[in-house]
């Protein structure tokens, strides 16, 4: 009798314990061991990020939606983010207004050659600052950082005068020459990326090559530069994007003749008035007639870098980690 009672009690206890263990397991699954690895925490993080991301990308979504709306959809306040019907008319206008094929070719030419030059010059400088030995190296490193901190507002006036004297104005040389000499868009940042990469390479490589009688140039071009392939790609991509989007320098140096896309957007309305007898309101006003084509044009401009980004996304995010600013 007693034995049976004890057995029952024990069984109950065991059951109790078991269920509390499952409860614990559930609790651990939901809340996690730390603050940040439970299921609930993950849901909250994801929810927060989704909301922020939506707010963050809202202007972009609005831009795409506006560019696809027909005029009646634009005027109608009932139509929200999603247009009633997809109207590609704006894109045709924008294509004509930007004279897209020509401007696209110009921008592509500028951005790709400019960034190749920049990869070349910045890799060389980065290698010298990392591995070669000469007096004043620290000073040069410091000056590199200084170039990053000097605002373009300071140099823009003299540069305009210099380019004017040299006859570079409104030709692609205003991009190419500084790029070739390591001073293009954010050149200092790229020099630092390369320097960081070359610093991390083993010394034995150089020693072995020197033993075999290779000159520094041979060593650099045959061994070090090929090794830096990934860094070259990162720099190329960033440089390409920044050249593509370059606006401030372009408004001054490339405003006529050889104009990239970013300049064409400004003169879009003028172009369109010439092309089609559209009546536009005052500048800057939220004018539904010009809003559609303008948004379409903006989208056409950012589309190529967007595609580049989607393909090469991994290298972009890795790129920042390579800068060595993070040391």
């Amino acid at each position: 009798m007693r034995l049976a009672e004890t057995a029952k009690r024990l069984r109950l206890e065991a059951e109790d314990r078991l269920s509390s263990r499952t409860a614990q397991r559930v609790k651990r699954f939901v809340l996690g061991q730390n603050l940040n690895d439970g299921w609930l925490a993950k849901v909250i993080i994801l929810a927060m990020l989704t909301v922020i991301a939506y707010l963050y990308l809202n202007p972009l979504l609005e831009m795409i939606s506006t560019s696809l709306k027909s005029l009646s959809d634009l005027i109608d306040p009932v139509v929200g983010l999603i247009p009633r019907e997809i109207d590609l008319h704006n894109y045709i206008d924008a294509w004509k207004g930007l004279r897209y094929p020509e401007a696209f070719a110009n921008t592509l030419f500028l951005a790709s050659i400019g960034s190749v030059f920049q990869v070349f010059s910045c890799a060389m400088t980065g290698y010298a600052l990392a591995r070669l030995n000469f007096p004043g190296k620290r000073l040069f490193l410091l000056l590199t950082i200084v170039t990053f901190l000097v605002p373009p507002q300071i140099t823009i006036v003299p540069l305009y005068m210099i380019y004017h004297e040299l006859g570079f104005l409104h030709t692609p040389f205003v991009i190419f020459i500084p790029a070739l000499l390591g001073q293009g868009v954010r050149g200092a940042l790229f020099v630092l990326i390369f320097r960081q990469f070359f610093l991390a390479q083993p010394k034995a490589l150089e020693e072995a090559a020197k033993m075999d009688g290779a000159s520094v140039f041979r060593l650099y071009f045959r061994i070090m530069l090929p090794l830096a392939g990934a860094s070259c790609l990162v720099v190329f991509l960033f440089s390409f994007i920044w050249y593509w989007n370059m606006h401030y320098e372009a408004t001054l140096f490339l405003s006529q003749g050889f104009t990239p896309l970013s300049i064409r957007l400004e003169s879009l309305e003028m172009e369109l008035i010439g092309n089609r007898a559209l009546s536009f309101g005052e500048e800057g006003a939220k004018d539904p007639v010009s809003e559609g084509p303008r948004m379409a044009a903006a989208f056409l401009i950012i589309l190529p870098p967007l595609i580049v980004y989607l393909i090469a996304q991994r290298w972009f995010t890795e790129g920042i980690e390579r800068t060595g600013m993070v040391e």
């Binding site: 940040n36 831009m63 000469f134 050149g187 606006h247 401009i301 980690e321």
Partner: protein
């Protein structure tokens, strides 16, 4: 004696051959630095003390001393006012970007499904948020936070701050999303920064019985101070070409105005740079102080 001298000469020749290669590698950069940075900066200083007129045979310089500056500061006071307004805005923009980037980086650093995608989303604006496209978007009113009008943020700011703070706050909030678009690189730097914190530190503090809240303030935050400083400087540099930076337009407009010209425009740019320099030095000093106090001399 002579052999000794000869040997010395040989030695230096050898050393300088070595150095020469280094300089040869630096040569493109040095030429570029001299002709596109050092020389323009010097010329810009020179310009700012002159009045420049363009004649048939090139530029004509007339020494005016500090006249350009005096004119800018005391006679035509529009520019200093614009500059001060912009700096007030910047004092709000920089912390805003830093806090946002830090918060998002903190979230992105956790482990959850879809992390890669989210990282991609927050870096996306770096790809296209530049220049004309942003201005175009803003002119369509796309940069505002959607709840601005709903919650009467303007009235709230008016009640709590008043004066210039209110104007600056409202102005910044109206551009809030576009300003936050300039935090893509900063987010990545913060995420990379988080990776440098040794895991053992967290384990140690947990064993000591600290809550996650405490471990954030005792470990994560002090460790990240140098990165915050770095990001502050990056943000300042990034804002040079911020499309709503009024200095850009004013400088380039005054370049081509007959009454002001290159000299006056250079003086304007220098005034701007001096203020920027103060801001950068302040950021450096602040980082230095804070990281020393936190005990992580890096």
């Amino acid at each position: 004696m002579k052999a000794d001298w000869e040997r010395r000469k040989q030695y230096w020749l050898f050393r300088w051959k070595d150095y020469g290669v280094g300089y040869l590698f630096m040569l493109p950069w040095i030429i570029g630095f001299c002709s596109f940075v050092a020389f323009p900066v010097g010329w810009s200083v020179f310009n700012s003390f002159h009045k420049i007129t363009i004649t048939a045979d090139g530029f004509q310089y007339t020494w005016v001393g500090l006249d350009n500056y005096r004119h800018m500061l005391f006679e035509n006071s529009a520019y200093p006012i614009i500059l001060i307004t912009y700096f007030q805005q910047m004092l709000i923009i920089i912390p805003l970007i830093l806090i946002f980037a830090f918060f998002v980086a903190l979230l992105l650093n956790q482990r959850f499904p879809g992390r890669g995608f989210m990282r991609m989303v927050f870096f996306l604006p770096v790809i296209f948020a530049t220049g004309q496209v942003v201005i175009e978007l803003f002119s369509q009113g796309a940069g505002e936070l959607p709840f601005m009008e709903q919650y009467r943020v303007k009235e709230l700011a008016e009640r709590f701050f008043g004066g210039w703070v209110e104007d600056a706050v409202v102005n910044v909030l109206q551009q809030a999303i576009i300003i936050l678009w300039y935090s893509g690189v900063q987010i990545l730097i913060f995420i990379a920064g988080f990776q440098t914190i040794p895991k053992t530190l967290y384990e140690a503090i947990r064993v000591d019985g600290a809550s996650p809240w405490e471990s954030f303030w005792k470990i994560t935050f002090p460790w990240m101070i140098p990165f915050i400083g770095l990001n502050a400087i990056y943000t300042i540099v990034d804002l040079f070409t911020f499309p709503f930076n009024p200095v850009l337009e004013i400088v380039s407009r005054n370049m081509f105005t007959a009454t002001t010209g290159y000299g006056y425009a250079s003086a304007m740019a220098w005034l701007y740079f001096l203020l920027i320099l103060i801001l950068i030095l302040f950021a450096l000093w602040f980082t230095y102080r804070a990281s020393k106090k936190g005990g992580y001399a890096r």
